[in-house]
């Protein structure tokens, strides 16, 4: 536990003491701000059944920016340690592999939350300025936060896994991006000639982030996506643990 704490704070420092963190936060917030304004304008003229946050998070533009975050957050985690050789100092200190892994993972979740935080400040700010509370409701905000947390935790575990596989941060970033995109587009297979409500369609729906988010952003928290994302994250973390341990016996 002690080692976990020390490593967790070290990772947080190395994230927040670098300028890239703020560039990423600023860019992502700017992108979403633009999208937010556009969405508000669109909803002024066109009636929409969904709330503002539902429409915002349902937009493909949001996802384009969002999916790029994960390689940026996770690419260095283990790849950099391997490249610099510091991994040797790390694992010859009296610490468990699991402590190192979980500390890095937890720190990446905090970094991810910090990047998303401004987005969630848009809504209270909008309310304060316009006095218009109807554009969003608490259920939608909580559901969206839970959804983004789940999807984020899952994507971060993909990223940390990719980072443990290579000594090159760029390769780790590309692997993460490819895997994250692949998973995201799995949900769109629906649009390519698959009969609605068939077995295949149900199967694909189970993997579809878009579909999960559709319900979550309306405030409908289903246990299936919760189980889906958490269990996949656990599996990926176990794989990462195994990769890290494999250095001992691999040739």
């Amino acid at each position: 536990m002690h080692a976990f704490q020390v490593l967790f704070f070290k990772e947080l420092r190395s994230f927040f003491f670098s300028s890239t963190a703020y560039v990423v936060i600023a860019l992502f917030t700017f992108l979403n701000g633009w999208l937010f304004v556009g969405m508000v304008r669109a909803m002024q003229t066109h009636a929409s059944p969904g709330s503002l946050i539902h429409n915002l998070l349902g937009s493909g533009w949001f996802w384009m920016g969002y999916l790029v975050l994960f390689p940026l957050i996770t690419m260095r985690l283990f790849a950099e340690e391997r490249k610099m050789g510091t991994i040797e100092g790390l694992f010859t200190a009296p610490v468990r592999t699991s402590e190192v892994l979980l500390a890095k993972y937890a720190a990446s979740i905090v970094a991810y939350a910090a990047i998303l935080l401004p987005l969630f400040l848009f809504f209270p700010a909008f309310y304060l300025i316009t006095g218009e509370a109807g554009a969003f409701h608490s259920g939608a905000v909580i559901g969206s936060a839970v959804g983004l947390f789940l999807v984020g935790v899952f994507h971060l575990s993909i990223g940390i896994f990719a980072s443990s596989l290579t000594a090159n941060a760029l390769v780790a970033a590309m692997m993460t991006f490819a895997m994250v995109m692949l998973h995201y587009f799995l949900g769109f297979l629906q649009n390519f000639g698959i009969i609605p409500d068939s077995m295949w369609s149900e199967f694909i729906n189970y993997f579809s982030t878009v579909r999960h988010m559709e319900f979550l952003t309306e405030g409908l928290i289903d246990s299936r996506p919760v189980f889906y994302y958490i269990s996949f994250s656990v599996v990926l973390l176990a794989c990462t643990h195994h990769v890290l341990e494999s250095r001992k016996w691999r040739s």
Binding site: H2, A3, V6, L7, K10, S14, F17, S18, M84, G85, T86, I87, E88, G89, F91, T92, A93, P94, V95, R96, R247, K248, W249, S251
Partner: protein, 317 residues
């Protein structure tokens, strides 16, 4: 302190470390010597639990490296080859991080870091970023890292690699000083360093231990012909006269730039021919300005061991 029993590391199709067994007693400074690729780093990495052994076991301070790896790592202060450090951290920050990672509380770590920085003379640079430091300072930061949690055993993998001669001398003195408090296992290929600092040398080549003894015994065990050189102004029959000295097997001569003659005498390993040579010189009235015997060094012992090895394998083929 360390007991290794037939420790083996096999990579696919290649045995990097082949059933090596050795012991290191508490308080010893042991040099781990071998050419590049001999398996030194692999052995040290197995002892520090970074790699696991394919076969065999080792205990460090009574703890098994496979079963009690956390306890083993607690008693070891390890400085890896090439001293990997985080370039974006400051020296004191880094050492504090390492001290706490190795299980120290915040308060303990502050005094421990101050002490380690003092031992490694890092006071001037404590607030500098590691990335901006020179090689010599980085090496010292690595060493301070290794000893910050006051380990019983220090394992240093090529600590003087890439240092300049004066830094090497400083590092050597530091290692000697640390040897008073810690048991040290040090891997290197700089031989005179080992000769000066270590109580015992383990020579390893192609994954096997070739010799394990004190430097002076290793040198004594060398059966090298004695080499004596004499610089003199002598008469023309000198070469013949020198050859008649019992024990001398070969004499060559060469002219120096300033008109003196240098004689190189080769003799049997056991007999010291300096005295008869001097007696002959005085008898014949030669003017002598130098009479010297070249002593074999650890380097000779090392090269000898390795070349024997090569010729053995060559003849086996």
């Amino acid at each position: 302190m360390i007991q290794a029993k037939s420790l083996t590391k096999r990579y696919s199709g290649r045995t990097a470390v082949d059933r090596i067994s050795f012991e290191v007693e508490k308080g010893e400074i042991v040099g781990f010597l071998g050419p590049n690729g001999a398996g030194k780093s692999t052995t040290l990495r197995m002892l520090t639990c970074f790699l696991s052994a394919s076969d065999g076991t080792a205990t460090v301070a009574g703890f098994d490296i496979a079963r009690d790896s956390l306890k083993v790592r607690q008693v070891i202060g390890y400085m890896p080859e090439n001293v990997p450090l985080y370039p974006e951290m400051r020296v004191r920050e880094y050492l504090c991080f390492r001290a706490r990672l190795k299980g120290m509380r915040y308060r303990e770590s502050i005094s421990a870091v101050a002490e380690a920085m003092d031992t490694c003379s890092l006071q001037g640079v404590e607030r500098k970023m590691i990335g901006t430091l020179s090689k010599g300072y980085r090496q010292r930061v690595g060493l301070a890292d290794a000893l910050v949690h006051k380990p019983e055993l220090l394992i240093l993998d090529e600590p003087t690699n890439g240092l300049d001669p004066s830094q090497i001398r400083q590092a050597r003195d530091l290692v000697k000083e640390l040897g008073e408090k810690h048991t040290i296992l040090i891997s290197t290929h700089i031989l005179n360093e080992v000769e000066m600092t270590c109580n015992r040398v383990i020579i390893i080549n192609q994954g096997k231990i070739k010799a394990s003894d004190s430097p002076s015994t290793l040198i004594r065990r060398l059966h090298r012909p004695g080499q004596v050189s004499l610089e003199a102004i002598a008469d023309s029959g000198a070469l013949g006269k020198l050859r008649t000295i019992p024990g001398v097997s070969e004499v060559t001569s060469s002219e120096t730039d300033d008109g003196w003659t240098r004689f190189q005498l080769t003799s049997n390993a056991e007999c010291d021919v300096r005295e008869p040579v001097f007696a002959l010189a005085t008898e014949c009235g030669w003017r002598v300005r130098q009479l010297e015997m070249r002593r074999p060094s650890l380097e000779d012992a090392f090269v000898d061991l390795l070349t024997n090895e090569q010729s053995e394998t060559a003849s086996a083929d």
